[in-house]
């Protein structure tokens, strides 16, 4: 596919450009801080941030906060994905239900649910549960919207062929609907991952007692900017790693 080669990021040239970009960002950071172009309280130099990162890791604070956040993200993700896929499949069964539900889900998804974040605190408390509920609900919509489209687009021809060969309902789902919808489903799952990470971390910065988002907000309030940036760098590294892992999974499930 021509599209794929254009989007392919695994070649030597794109890879070196990507590495060069990261190096340039770090270089710029050194230049701005050591050259005295930015106040060191607003942006500490990279060496200071590096020490803060090491200190967070050694003291065990990193793991303690990361555990809370990762677990919240994971719980939010499954809260979104399992009902999202199930409801997506059920809605896709008839044209009428697609026409009825699809605009509803799309409409709700276009409303910034952040507006309702205080309600999540009211209902689920200030602990991780409010972040899980918030992230789970937010990420449910991209999953359900993409899976409705993906399941509903299954070619009738394949379904008829499978039925003519005697496929049971379960076989139809496993062998026809699911593999046919898989590329669309993966797109939804990917969006859900991004939404979960963003809303759990965001929720933690707004109001929480624990987690990485809470640590970032706290250090910012204390004007401990080196530590704050140390947390931010950890988040960026984790998100980039997650994104690369997702890309690998997606490439593997793609068909020639």
């Amino acid at each position: 596919m021509a599209e794929r080669s254009a989007l392919d990021s695994s070649g030597i040239v794109p890879r070196s450009i990507q590495v060069g970009f990261v190096a340039a960002v770090i270089g710029l950071w050194f230049f701005l801080t050591l050259g005295g172009h930015v106040h060191l309280l607003l942006l500490p130099d990279p060496v200071k941030v590096w020490y803060a990162m090491v200190q967070l890791a050694v003291s065990g604070q990193l793991w303690a906060a990361a555990k809370v956040t990762l677990l919240s993200i994971l719980k939010a993700y499954f809260t979104a994905v399992i009902p999202g896929l199930a409801i997506g499949f059920l809605v896709s069964r008839t044209l009428r239900s697609v026409q009825f539900f699809e605009p509803i889900f799309s409409g709700i998804f276009s409303v910034p649910l952040t507006l309702f974040f205080p309600l999540f605190i009211f209902f689920f408390g200030i602990g991780p549960n409010s972040k899980i509920a918030y992230g789970g609900l937010y990420a449910f919509f991209p999953v359900v919207i993409t899976s409705i489209a993906a399941f509903a687009n299954t070619d009738q021809l394949y379904i008829r062929a499978a039925q003519s060969m005697g496929a049971s309902q379960l076989q139809l789902f496993r062998r026809v609907y699911f593999p046919s919808a898989l590329p669309g489903i993966l797109t939804g799952l990917r969006i859900a991952t991004v939404v979960c990470v963003a809303s759990v971390l965001g929720g933690e910065t707004i109001s929480s007692t624990n987690g990485v988002g809470h640590a970032i907000a706290l250090q910012a309030e204390l004007m401990e900017t080196a530590r704050m940036y140390a947390w931010v760098v950890y988040v960026v590294v984790a998100v980039v790693a997650l994104n690369m892992a997702l890309s690998v999974i997606e490439t593997r499930t793609e068909r020639k």
Binding site: L157, Y158, R160, A161, A162, Q163, S164, M165, G166, A167, S168, Q171, R175, V176, P179, S180, L182, R255, K256
Partner: protein
């Protein structure tokens, strides 16, 4: 006149029998099929569909009766939209007819009968997310076949269409012609006594079509399967069929039945024989009026703004 009981009741009379029949025997049965048991019996089948407008109904098939003998190669021929594919789907249990009965052997058809009937469709129905071989495995699972020999049978079916080297390819890596060969191989692999083919070569170019038709004739001569083959190609029908059933323009009725007395496997030389052209011309004469009617009906529908293919 060897017209058999119920089936050609009214239809035979609609056709002017004065035309040169060549070696084709009207309303008769080939020697091969005459003694064979009835494999498929279609009795007074009528099919109505809901039209575009509420309350409007389209009569697709009007009281069609037909008997197909075991081992027979029967072609359904007719203008487009005459209900050939609908009839095939009803026989295969994929569509439910409005009235009438279809029997396969002694069993009344009420849904797909995967142990008896395999389908080959106009477009490839190989699942693009599985390799060719995986497709065969999945088909065998659908059929609830317990046979552990599926792999050997799949490979031998692929060999019979010359596609054994593509077992591990994904369908989208193959050309349309190659895919149709494999669909054919899967039809054979499913090991049913009956194969229903819905214009399987329609998407192919003329050359590929002729070669595949020839291969099909050779293959089926070996297996002795009962075939119902929908086509709108006159040459294809004459080359492949033991018996050709010509249908009228919508509503679909049986207009005439021709027998082609030529043993299988048929060689391409048959296409050059004078008999071949005679039967083809005869078919064309029968069809011409129907095609005109179809075109006229389409114009009318277009003028009314209710074109339905």
């Amino acid at each position: 006149m060897p017209m058999s009981a119920t089936q050609q009741r009214s239809q035979g009379q609609q056709f002017n029998r004065g035309r040169g029949a060549g070696d084709a025997v009207m309303d008769g049965k080939s020697k091969l099929a005459a003694d064979a048991p009835v494999a498929i019996a279609v009795e007074h089948v009528t099919q109505r569909f809901d039209g575009r407008r509420p309350g409007q109904q389209v009569l697709a098939l009007d009281d069609v009766s037909l008997e197909i003998r075991a081992g027979e190669f029967l072609c359904l021929l007719g203008p487009s939209g005459c209900g050939k594919s609908t009839l095939l789907n009803i026989i295969g249990g994929l569509n439910r007819q409005t009235s009438g009965t279809v029997r396969i052997g002694d069993t009344v058809v009420r849904g797909p009968t995967p142990s008896q009937v395999a389908f080959v469709f106009q477009e490839s129905t190989l699942f693009p997310w599985y390799t060719v071989l995986e497709n065969f495995k999945v088909s065998s699972d659908f059929q609830r076949s317990q046979a552990s020999t599926w792999n050997d049978r799949a490979m031998s079916a692929l060999r019979s269409v010359g596609m054994e080297n593509f077992a591990n390819h994904y369908p989208n890596q193959l050309s349309i012609g190659m895919k149709q060969r494999i669909n054919l191989a899967r039809g054979i692999f499913l090991d049913t006594p009956i194969i229903l083919m819905d214009e399987p070569f329609a998407a192919l170019d003329e050359q590929t079509r002729m070669v595949l038709g020839e291969d099909l004739s050779v293959l089926l001569a070996r297996t002795g399967k009962t075939i119902v083959f929908v086509t709108h190609s006159l040459a294809e029908a004459v080359f492949l069929a033991d018996r050709i059933v010509v249908m009228t323009a919508r509503p679909g009725r049986i207009k005439a039945t021709l027998t082609v007395e030529e043993p299988h496997p048929r060689s391409p030389d048959f296409m050059l024989a004078p008999r071949f052209s005679e039967i083809r011309n005869e078919l064309f004469a029968i069809l011409r009026d129907e095609i005109r009617q179809t075109v006229a009906a389409m114009r009318e529908a277009r003028d009314e703004g209710v074109v339905d293919g």
